[in-house]
Subunit: 335 residues, 2 copies
Amino acid sequence: MTNYSIKDIAEIAGVSVATVSRVINDNGRFSEETRKKVLKVIEETGYKMNYSAKNLRMNKSFTIGILVPDISNYFFSDVVQRLEEILFAKGYSTIICNTSRSSEKELAYLRILEGKGVDGLIVISGAEAFEFASSNAEKKIPYICIDREPKKKEDTIFISSNHYQGAFESTEELIHEGCQHPVIAMHNQKSTSAKERLKGFKDALKKNSIPFDQKQHLLAVDIEQSDFEENLLAFLKKNPSTDGIFSINDLIALELMRSLKKNQIAVPHKIKLIGFDDTAFGKYTTPSLSSVKQNADLIANYAVESLLELINKKGELGRQIIVPVSLVLRESSIS
Amino acid sequence: MTNYSIKDIAEIAGVSVATVSRVINDNGRFSEETRKKVLKVIEETGYKMNYSAKNLRMNKSFTIGILVPDISNYFFSDVVQRLEEILFAKGYSTIICNTSRSSEKELAYLRILEGKGVDGLIVISGAEAFEFASSNAEKKIPYICIDREPKKKEDTIFISSNHYQGAFESTEELIHEGCQHPVIAMHNQKSTSAKERLKGFKDALKKNSIPFDQKQHLLAVDIEQSDFEENLLAFLKKNPSTDGIFSINDLIALELMRSLKKNQIAVPHKIKLIGFDDTAFGKYTTPSLSSVKQNADLIANYAVESLLELINKKGELGRQIIVPVSLVLRESSIS
């Protein structure tokens, strides 16, 4: 008897390897017709189903876990939505876990995803460097980090937008539009991407011979706090020559725009403004909001491609993939 | 020897039943201290661990599945975020599956969630009536529908916002503000909630002696299409007396506001506008957008409470819980 592989079975039945695996394990989606067809081929070829079924069951669930810190964040939910679509088209199902930026939750969900037997993991953003200590040393689960620095670079592939470029170009754009005292507005929580954006801002200042001074050039904000506007006005009082703000995200930019307007400080006439993320809403404000657009499609594509390579033991670990961003100019930053 | 139950063990150890189960199954989160404490009580009481562990493993995973049609939708992601927080605080983990409004995906994810052994299911929105045929007749998984009509009402508890009330009050508000020809703007996809909103709009017209005529009062829109603005202008040309629009969601309302502005049709002076969902962005536009606010907190609370009741075989099936909405008035609808 020829020794048929699962690949042969799939080829003869005219379905994917994933489908054969699902039929054998009775796990996931397939039509009754497909089931019959696959089982018929298995019978005809004498494929050693039981052993392979066990093997497959141990090794492949065709499920990928995603850890996301805040599913209500515009950019994160966009990336997750695309990841799911690409994975599904490739025969993988996605289970999403929302960690609410809590390390306790993250640990809990890591163990749960491990327990559910996911084949791989995609970790999105977060403040601390990511470490995944699999509780089962024999079966290490491959993982990919998006916008989140891995603790052990050699264990993973790190994908991120070029946050540095986005911040650098935004700041240069403000300067080219005539701003002599550009400011970066950011929250205190320093994620990997926030750090890169700050670096880009500082370097653009340096390139234009503006010495960075934290007190003059960094506006620390928290839009959740009621004293947001008060803080902004206090900062502007201390730094009356502020004429441009690069905001670390659109939500902060929109809140700044609203507060400035309310206090008769004209955008862009008195202060020019550029956000980050290019949320769906920036085009609806008056003035419309300039922003940095991340390429969620490309990020999701790279993430899936790299993870499937790692799962199939082909990918090169330790790599970093940096995806370019683009500046979308609207009314808020143009003279 | 007294026959101790898992509840007794939990009580003696001063932890929850869920924690005892997790320690026994070595599944999920607990500190080393908790583990020691629980195991000590088990030893002292002579609790029949093995049998119960098996039993628990068969019956309880302390995991809840959520099916959501579009995780990048503002309201859905808000509800999902809150569901996860409430469930986590009660000792349950949540796995989220995004169905991209596809019935094929929905079926696939239902089987996967079943395969992963979730204790219960929360189904959010969608166009068709929801039916869940468990593939294992012996172990029916309890489920809750949010904003999604169940096919078999007697199998579930149905929770939704009072979409009817939101639409009715918005339309009446437009009429009270002087609108004589209010219009409803909606997409073609008729979800459970969209149908209720249309009903509320029609009834408000009726109450104010305005006979509903589809051609005059219903503006069918699709913001994904490039002819959105063209359609709007064609509608206004045919119905020049249109002076108020109740929009089925904020995204459509914002797009309407932008197109109207672009064509020098003043909001609210010429046409008053009210949206639905009260997204974070409505307050940043000029004029700021009036909208209907759904109570995501209350919906999530009811959903978790009801689902845990069903899991513990206490809940009353066939019920419907309708959560009130509130009208947030801003500049776009006020004379």
